[in-house]
Amino acid sequence: MDTVYFEESIASHPQTLRLLERQSAARHVPIKRYTDVFNAAGQNFREQKARPALILAEKRGKRVLPTPPGYGIGGEHNYYFAHMLNCVYDCRYCFLQGMYRSAHHVVFVNFEDFFEDIQTTAAANEHPSWFFSGYDCDSLALDPLTGFVDAMLDRLATMDKVRLELRTKSVQIRPLLRRAADTRVVVAFSLSPEAIVSAEEHGTPTLKRRLDALKRLQAHGWPIGLRFDPIIASDDALALYAEFFDQVFDELDTLAVHSATLGSFRLPRAFHSKLVRMYPDSRLLAAPMQRHGDMMSYPAEREQGLMEYCRSRIASAVTAERLFECVTDIPAPASTTAGS
């Protein structure tokens, strides 16, 4: 990173000091509030994406939020949190491009407050609660910098009723392989056919590298999740996804997969319009879309057969009680096509 902004109020926080030390060659710029930079008008997301800055901030207010109704992987109580905002990857379908004005990466350094809130939230429920990381960021991609995973998993040892999903496209799995697997944590990878990875998921590891990472995690005992979301429609999608599912299910021990989710391409209409303005040259965004309430998605006739096919292929490998669908009519932004 060329530039690191940091809130003056957390200048002496150990995590801030550590990150500034790690980024000692960057320009260090003190700011009052992260929103002064991150929410400023006149930013060009596409331009900034080429050279984003890092912003170190304190997360105030609500740090843990309930997921939209219908979202989950079998648990009764579901929440999400974002210790970072934005993603190092550049997936053309990602809602973050439509949601934020800035492409800079925000890291909230007060991990301890997140852990406290997670513990308090879980304690209020009788049954275990699921906490999803990776909505507003990739859970692992910046981990070599942030060290969040180690800090979270260390703390998890004292949180009986917490279940955690780390959602990612990243192969930065070293912190997970360095420690004993925790069966309360699901490491969930978003997967797409390689042709879609290379065309639309810019900067992400290839499908093969993701599958290799999944295999290593499985071998180490970590529960893994497969996230087939979003399914991207095209005229050769059936052939593409047929080959893709063969590859995924051949490589992995499907009996040991914790859960699989399936989701169609969907974006809030306002985000879709913003993305189209930003990327008028994007093939994915130029494809036929239809409005469904406040959401944009493929016309039913374009994706119905494809979704049915994907559903049946996944169901042949993963039992019904471990397969979950993300439905399109739940509110934005957390239900929309996510970054990881």
Binding site: R27, V29, D36, E47, A237, P280, R283, P288
Partner: protein, 279 residues
């Protein structure tokens, strides 16, 4: 052909602009809507806005209208501060002392400005002798940010300042000849940054330009309302994104109305096959 500058350099004083316009070989020019000294080359326009943030904002706003091809603004000038006299500083943020408003321009890569220190630039309404160590003081940057950012975005402005006065060098003792001399050693750095900023282009510029040309070729022949033009643009953009080419306008203009053209074009766009495997 009149110049189509992509880059605007804004200085307040003639003493600030003189070494730059010599170094970049800019020639004096006139523009009917710009009542300030103006110098141009094919790629660069330089303004001497005069002193103060309001003059700076007004002149820059007028110049962005007069030269709509400009994509970046570089503010070069002198400033007061506690650092070494003659040192070069990049403004990492700009504060308008009067209103308290702050701007955070996107900063150029460090390789474009090696060994250049950075700090907050506080724009004051009158020269100040109350120097704080965490900032430098000028009289124009806030006005330039206020005018440039709504048009060019936070990536469209950069402020470079050379320290001319400070606790050890009182502002009253700075002579006009000193100003040019202070800037001289930094001209290669300024020139490097000008070259870099001149290359800034609108994302997907080629795509947008091709679509606009194709749309104009159609709307010149067949009447379109504003909303029909907007829809035509979108359909042409989708055609180009999906097929990699634009439809020949000669085919489309034979249709009698905007409605029919849109319907035809939509049909073609929807029929374009999307294959990922071969891409």
């Amino acid at each position: 052909m009149p110049p189509l500058p992509r880059m605007c350099i804004a200085t307040a004083l003639a003493q600030e602009s003189r070494p730059i316009r010599r170094y970049l070989r800019l020639r004096r020019a006139d523009h009917p809507s710009l009542p300030c000294p103006l110098y141009v080359s094919q790629d660069v326009v330089l303004l001497e806005t005069g002193l103060g943030k309001l003059r700076a904002a007004a002149m820059l706003a007028a110049s962005l209208c007069a030269y709509p091809s400009v994509r970046s603004v570089l503010n070069v000038g002198i400033a007061g501060g506690t650092g070494k006299q003659g040192s070069l500083w990049l403004g990492h943020a700009v504060l308008d002392q009067g209103s308290g408003r702050r701007w955070y321009p996107d900063l150029p890569a460090q390789r474009e400005l090696p060994n250049t220190r950075h700090t907050l630039v506080e724009t004051v309404d009158a020269p100040s002798t109350d120097y704080r160590p965490d900032r430098i003081y000028d009289m124009e940057a806030a006005g330039l940010c206020a005018a440039a950012i709504p048009v060019l975005g936070t990536g469209g402005i950069c402020c470079l300042k050379v320290l001319s006065d400070g606790p050890e060098a009182p502002v009253e003792l700075v002579r006009s000849n000193d100003v040019s001399a202070l800037l001289e050693p930094h001209l290669p750095t300024i020139n490097k940054l000008v070259s870099h900023l001149s290359q800034r282009s609108e994302p997907a510029h080629a795509h947008r330009t091709a679509v606009t040309s194709a749309a104009v070729a159609i709307t010149d022949v067949v009447h379109h309302s504003e909303s029909e033009k907007h829809y035509l643009h979108r359909l042409l953009a989708r055609h180009l994104a999906l097929a990699g080419t634009l439809p020949a306008d000669t085919e489309l203009v034979r249709y009698a109305s905007a409605d029919v053209i849109a319907a035809q074009l939509q049909q073609r766009v929807e029929a374009i096959a999307i294959h990922y495997k071969a891409s």
